[in-house]
């Protein structure tokens, strides 16, 4: 079943276009990475999905219904990001009680378990939390709400590596026990890679690609070999990067080689290795800034 259906979705803030004819579909019970550079439109999309923003044009439906101001849809969504503010002067335990009032799938036992796990005292006031602790608490709210669609915008901001790792394992375990659709936007793709089932790559408000993570992992390859062999070879390929080092070249290309091409490269002593998903995303969303940096260098 389609959870999110996005057709030519555009969102304009004055003269600035945040989303430009964004189209993609997300099925239920998946963890999806929503990846893009700063200002790509990730947060705008997630907020539109959460019903906070109204599309300028195009259509966004969740479970087949429009989302803006639609309580039937909103009731099934949880959105968390680092700017979210719960009642500042409330104790954490009380805020969790609120969760049980607002969210129909709320798991209070699980929320308290997580609170204990992150060593957050339920008598502690929200305003007294450090940035990292706030992020942990927001994560608890996001997970314990058990909403059929959970939107997490940079959920690990402010967390140290150890806590981030813990979060990933908690998320995975909870997801395994309670499957639902979780959309995570993050710039730490390398850490998330093992968690995600699909990736939606967004650039300047449009979807660049939407693929299962396995496909992404096979999407690109590095070729490292002699210049006279590789340069003519990559001429007809989709090239992500080339680096010439004396007589050698390292070229990143899309992995659409035929068996014959593989054999040809092997015969000519070319090393072949996979491009990481993170690098693929960087290459696919490369802007002119790279060239400017190159010139400065």
């Amino acid at each position: 079943m389609n959870v999110i259906e996005c057709r030519k979705l555009s969102k304009q803030f004055g003269s600035k276009t945040a989303l430009k004819e964004l189209s993609f579909t997300v099925n239920d019970n998946k963890i999806i990475g929503f990846i893009g550079r700063n200002g790509a439109g990730k947060t705008t999309f997630l907020k539109t999905c959460a019903g906070f923003l109204k599309p300028t044009s195009g259509e966004l439906t969740l479970w087949g219904e429009k989302v803006f101001d639609n309580l039937n849809v909103i009731s099934n969504i949880t959105f968390i990001d680092e700017e979210i503010q719960y009642e500042k002067e409330w104790e954490l335990g009380k805020i969790l009680m609120l969760g049980s009032l607002y969210y129909k799938h709320w798991d209070h036992v699980y929320a308290q378990k997580l609170l204990k796990h992150f060593e957050l005292n339920e008598k502690l006031k929200y305003s007294k939390l450090s940035r990292g602790m706030k992020t942990q608490f927001n994560i608890i709210m996001g997970l314990a709400s058990r909403s059929p669609l959970t939107l997490m915008d940079e959920p690990t901001l402010g967390l140290d590596a150890a806590v981030r790792k813990e979060f990933y394992s908690i998320l995975l375990k909870d997801y395994a026990e309670n499957p639902r659709t979780i959309l995570i936007s993050s710039h730490l793709l390398s850490e998330l890679e093992n968690l995600l089932e699909e990736i939606v790559l967004i650039h300047e408000g449009s979807a660049v690609l939407h693929k299962p993570i396995e496909e992404m992992q096979e999407y690109g390859i590095y070729l490292n070999g002699k210049k006279e062999i590789l340069l003519p070879f990559i001429e007809k390929k989709e090239v992500f990067s080339t680096e010439v080092l004396g007589n050698s070249v390292i070229a990143g290309i899309k992995n659409d080689l035929s068996q014959n091409e593989f054999s040809y490269l092997k015969e000519n002593n070319t090393d072949i290795s996979k491009i990481s998903v993170q690098d693929i995303c960087i290459y696919l969303t490369k802007s002119d800034r790279g060239e400017v940096l190159h010139e400065i260098g």
Binding site: L53, S75, T78, F79, L98, Y102, Y103, K104
Partner: protein
Amino acid sequence: MRLDNNFKRALKGLVINKLVSYKHTFVVYPLIVLGISLLGMMLTFILNRMNIPTGSVSGVLSFGITFTYIIMIILTISSSTRSEIKKRFVYPINRKVYAAGNFIILTICSFMLLAGMLAASMVEMLAAKLIAVFYPSTILVDTVTITSLLAGLWVTFSYAMLLLSVIYLINMFILRFKIRTAAILIVFGLMFIIPWWRSFTFDILSFFIFEQSVIILSIKLLLTSSIVYWIGCLPLKEMEVNI
């Protein structure tokens, strides 16, 4: 109108959320008013014993009205700010729930606060009676009847609702259409130099202030409040929440 479960849950969540946030209001403010009134009473008593003439002391109920209205105006303004709206929409609610919930909260808060003042006035009465017991020259002028207490509570509450609805309306329009609302308010203000506008405004006020029936007055006030509040919610309709 059948309310679905999502609406009921969201509304219940919002109302309880805000009521718990304001719970100290119902106790603390009546106690402050009571404290000030009792202090005034004691001071008057002491000055009286010293043969120093004093003015009249403002009782809990008369002082409490002003206090309640000020507190409720602050609550109303604070409940229609961008940051407040942001805070509420963290949870799964829509604009209809927000509008309805806010109205319910203003209603409950006003009533509870005034009821708190009424309770405080009972303590005031008891204190005055105690003075009368220990100082026989006390003359306790007590014109208050249970009927007038209850009728007064209801009328004061009804006026509070109208006042708060008007403030909510102005605030919401300022929030959404700052310059246009300010311009309209200035134009309305300047129009007071036109006699027919003045008399029109007076006619509107007369509609309420010359009413002699408590029931009809409260119906007029509460109906007008509902309409004014509903108009105040119009800017919410298409408003985006920039969390």
